[in-house]
Symmetry: C2
Subunit: 332 residues, 2 copies
């Protein structure tokens, strides 16, 4: 029987799958170790989906919101969207000879990350605007798809989309199978996410919420286009997350998962509703298989939200202890 | 057999229903007269849902966007949300004695619509901000629900939610039964719409797109709230409609319905996609059962979009000719 379980595990696809366990029960979360985290998730889902239960929630109200960077995929050594922007600067350098002498582009082209970061937020904003604006939404979609299909992560030498967390893919599938509507609520750009999130996570563009640039309507030879302007419209981080949820969904989630202080308000907003709810944090505790960081990290800092989670009894998932497998490729 | 059809028609609920026609075929649009408009809709839906058809569209891509004012419910003698705001000024007047001498409130309280309109957009903005901002999203939801449950339309002496178009309710149900995701894309405030649109149209809050005020995150005694600020965040009208669609849905619709020049860009955006699509306009031609207006109306002006529709062969629904029944109460 164990051999069958193993074979089933090996056949897991990126979008997850259900595995029959040794007891004959279907296990929707085979990459989660048996323990308090898995138990808390399964128990919560059972409670809210069981008709007649005092905690029953109608399917229309089963809204689940999950952060992306550090919650569904890795975010080290830097947010992958920033790595995209840096690659994009390099790709565009030939048509911008002036960048050789202009910061922050000069440092980017020299591969000098310290120099890039020395420019602070204004420097990063220049990089983002130069690489993310000035084209239509359709053109940007194509640019991101090309990059995501060809770029490789510096440590793992694999496409970034392989650095997604197998246990979280299983959680997404499990929630959807139980009538939840799964949303991504990310600080990343929404059009960056949408270029690949549906294929990788099974989350459609209309359930992907993120930061936005302003868009401009244009008629080009009578044909309409939406142009991405170098002007921030909305930052979907910290207090922006509940605001983005209210603007886009208009219902309060009953489940929220994050991994950093940027998710704190989203977790608080979810927690403040009535009835049973689940607030979860992915705690990066596995330097060997992934990374270990929390309070001192400049990327994905987890400090106040961790204190709050412990005080309020939110679920803190310990990656090292709770996850049998981190990335899908480990199972292959 | 005709008697059976009639009985079935009489049993139609607000969310529409399917009726067996005299030929034995299920008629999903019983309140539409047989003719070119009904035929165009049914033919389009058949084409895009028929597997193997060159025009087949996968369910995930079957996005339908419909304006609200003048497309799903009436908008005369003024947009119903403005009538809500005016009623709200009256309800709040007791706690604002200063309004007796302050425009535009003075004119509102005197029932002097000309005086209200004399204040132009700044005057209307004052009315909207005073009645729509300064409370949480939850409080506003309750205020709108109370009003919509008790207010009566001046001409029909019925709740505003009874002034929805029976043929459009049937269209919404028909599209959903055929795998479409139906969205409202309205110039009205999104939180005004969400307070009642799900119950009336079967369109959930996450598929309702509209204009927005800015929201502010607040902790009140540790409990989070989203406060509606007197500051416009987004106007979902004209070029705002395709922008709102791109921000919220991230896919181009294959069907769009509107009734005024405010919907023109949404119709153009929909039309500019590849593959078969349906662009429709509700033309108000029935002064007896509803209203008759187009190019000269200050509410719901239909001028350029009508020219464009005729030039490009978009569907122009003639309310008087095409609709057997306008409002659900006529069938009862």
């Amino acid at each position: 029987m164990r051999r069958i379980v193993l074979l089933a595990l090996l056949s897991l696809t990126l979008v997850g799958g259900f595995v029959e366990s040794a007891t004959g029960q279907v296990d929707a979360l085979p990459s989660w170790n048996e323990g308090p985290s898995k138990k808390a998730i399964v128990e919560f889902v059972k409670q809210v989906t069981k008709e007649g239960s005092p905690n029953f929630v109608a399917p229309a109200e089963r809204i689940a919101v999950l952060d992306n960077d550090g919650t569904l995929w890795s975010e080290q050594p830097a947010y992958f969207q920033l790595l995209f922007a840096i690659d994009r600067v390099k790709a565009l350098a030939a048509t911008h000879p002036e960048w050789k002498d202009q910061e922050p582009f000069k440092s980017v082209l020299a591969g000098d990350m310290k120099g890039v970061l020395a420019g602070g937020k204004p420097g990063l904003a220049k990089i983002i605007m130069m690489t993310h604006a000035g084209m239509t939404s359709q053109e940007f979609d194509r640019i991101v798809k090309e990059w995501i299909g060809s770029a490789r992560h510096p440590r793992f030498k694999r496409p970034y989309t392989e650095l997604v967390y197998q246990p979280m893919l299983e959680l997404l599938s499990y929630l959807r199978a139980q009538g939840f509507k799964t949303y991504i609520v990310s600080g990343s750009g929404v059009e960056f996410l949408r270029a690949w999130a549906e294929k990788i996570y099974g989350v459609p563009p209309e359930q992907t919420i993120g930061s936005r640039l302003k868009l401009k309507w244009e008629l080009r030879d009578g044909k309409p286009a939406l142009l991405r302007l170098p002007d921030v419209d909305f930052i979907d981080d910290k207090e922006g997350k509940p605001i983005g949820i209210q603007q886009n969904i208009g219902r309060r989630p009953i489940l929220a998962f994050g991994n950093s202080d940027g998710d704190h308000e989203m977790l608080q907003w979810t927690a403040a509703g009535t009835g049973l709810r689940l607030m979860g944090i992915v705690h990066h505790t596995d330097a060997e298989r992934e990374w270990a960081y929390d309070r001192e990290s400049s990327v994905g800092r987890l400090d106040k939200a961790l204190d709050d989670a412990r005080q309020k009894g939110w679920l803190v998932v310990d990656m090292k202890r709770d996850w049998k497998v981190v990335f899908p490729f480990e199972a292959k």
